[in-house]
Symmetry: C2
Subunit: 333 residues, 2 copies
DNA sequence: CTGTTAGCGCTTTCAA
DNA sequence: TTGAAAGCGCTAACAG
């Protein structure tokens, strides 16, 4: 790979390679030797061999990142946050995608570990026993995003709270006959927490209500296809587990000539920029995914340095008021 | 890092470490030794040391990818394509972001090279002399995306043609007073090619027309802010250099109560999924960015293997007919 | 089929 | 302050 080695430049300067190594790593070198070495390095464009260095020093300044898929706005925001922090700290990202395959996620952890990363951030699909066992076997810190689990390091958005807040908003607009268009419970955050928060608000605060569940996946298209199933339940409002799902159902309603929010109210979760440009704009809860990425990166870096001080793990939630929900009157307050 | 080494398992099996190495790399090993070694490896959970291996073999199965920023749909689609191919070929992606900084892009190439990647894909902001000099100094293949330059390996979308096709479409709908809402010429593909194609169609085929240029950046928000400047020019149609820009301007028009396409026609480039869900849906030209990623990955892998056979570099363009352009009548045909 | 040997390029004692 | 020497964990002749 790199032609010129530490030995070459040692020869050029008539010093030993130890001196060159010392120069490179800030050890004692006499002023004149320093000068000579500096010149030689500049002249040759010498770059120290990454692998040899790592073989000795045992740390790579590499951090592994596993994501479920790349073409998702959420994921890219998180990645952006991670990248931002890693960069500042001179770490490079080794990225792998689990392609929404739980088993593959585990393989990726192994593979990344095997490639000598100093720490791993996993945007997880779900933490299994397999994961926990692996974490105990592995000698580097691993941080999970997107799911609570007390056996491992994790950071996640408070999906339960988001669901709860959204439910409160629906209730204030007097909706009591709602379809929750959500995803499989395999996804702990979106599939379970977000839904549970929504349901619990109604359970705790409302006496007369009906919430039906319709299951879809994360794709825009699939949500669109569930349109009729949702309509058959005859709700006054549809809560969608993500903004993307909301876009899908809105398209279906548009095509059917069903007016939002006059005939039916909708809302999503996520707060993508595009939600605001829709006609009508979507009421949603905005998560700061970039911040989530930043905090996770800071934390893993701390863990690598054996600091145990944790950054605050509080990711703010913000209800974005759009035009997609109508107050249908009633006896609230 | 990994505690157990090839030597350890050699000792356990009472063979030499060469035999273990051979076992690992598919050389001759007797059946019974194979068995012994296999067991020992399983028992210990041995993983060969990545850095030691690479120090010897000189190839890393790492491919470097430099992107301008992460939180862009285009970029994530390209990444997805690259990842797809790399994965199948057992390569891992080392990702760095240039953060829209041309100088940093060059630094990233150096950094990645220094980290021992076998090849680099650069989603470039612009190919400078600096880039070309660097490519000549570096002993690994580099592939540039997003800009033509005969001095280097490149693949890009035919932005010129896309602009041309779009112009033809506008002309067929009798628009002759148009604002081109584009980006800085610093961006060769979007800023120059796409625009030039559009202008050239009119120059070559239309006698009486006016195209005004308004400059914005890639952000949704900035496009929105240019709304009034666009309106001041009083066009019948606005061509936006990207769908995202188009969303921004649409939001502005919506807020002003200006009806699309009745009062003004708009179009974009990109073909993001969301363009179709807008009300009205956006007429746009869809680029297959994922394919672009795939082809670039295949090509870099070929270059690494010293095959010079190139995959077809033809990325299909598709005009997506939305509802955002109105035929304003006139004397066409 | 197997073991011995010699490094890959670097860091790090240790003694000078 | 410097150089010699050992060795990180692995691969690859080479001779047997």
């Amino acid at each position: 790979m790199n032609k010129v080695t530490i030995q070459d430049i040692a020869d050029m300067c008539q010093v030993s390679k130890s001196s060159v190594s010392r120069y490179l790593n800030g050890g004692y070198v006499s002023k004149e030797n320093k000068e000579k070495i500096k010149n030689a390095i500049e002249k040759t464009g010498f770059q120290s061999n990454f692998f040899a260095k790592r073989l000795k020093t045992k740390n790579s300044n590499l951090i592994g990142v596993i994501i479920p898929r790349i073409d998702s706005i959420t994921v890219s925001k998180v990645l952006n946050g991670i990248n931002n922090i890693c960069e500042k700290n001179n770490y490079t990202i080794l990225m792998q995608s689990s392609n929404l395959d739980l088993k593959k996620e585990v393989d990726c952890i192994n593979s990344l570990y095997n490639q000598g990363v100093d720490g791993i951030i996993v945007y997880t699909l779900g933490i299994t026993n397999e994961h926990i066992k692996l974490c105990n076997n592995i000698k580097i810190p691993i941080m999970f995003l997107n799911q609570k689990n007390e056996n491992v390091n994790y950071i996640c958005i408070d999906d339960y709270k988001a669901g709860y807040i959204m439910a409160e908003h629906f209730y204030k607009h007097n909706h009591k006959n709602i379809v929750f268009l959500g995803v499989s419970e395999q996804d702990k955050s979106v599939g379970i927490e977000r839904k549970q928060g929504f349901y619990d608000f109604y359970k705790n605060n409302v006496s007369n209500y009906k919430i039906d569940f319709v299951e879809t996946d994360f794709s825009f298209k699939s949500a669109y296809n569930k349109g009729q199933a949702v309509l058959n339940l005859n709700p006054t409002a549809v809560v969608c587990a993500t903004d993307n799902i909301c876009l899908g159902i809105m398209l279906y309603f548009n095509e059917k000539g069903i007016k939002i929010p006059n005939e039916i109210s909708v809302a999503g979760f996520g707060g993508y920029e595009v939600s605001s440009v829709m006609k009508p704009s979507i009421t949603t809860i905005r998560f700061d995914y970039e911040l989530l990425g930043k905090i996770s990166a800071k934390n893993i870096l701390n863990l690598i340095k054996n600091n145990n001080e944790k950054e605050d793990v509080n990711i703010p939630l913000k209800l974005i008021l759009g035009e997609s929900i109508k107050d249908i009157g009633g006896n609230y307050e």
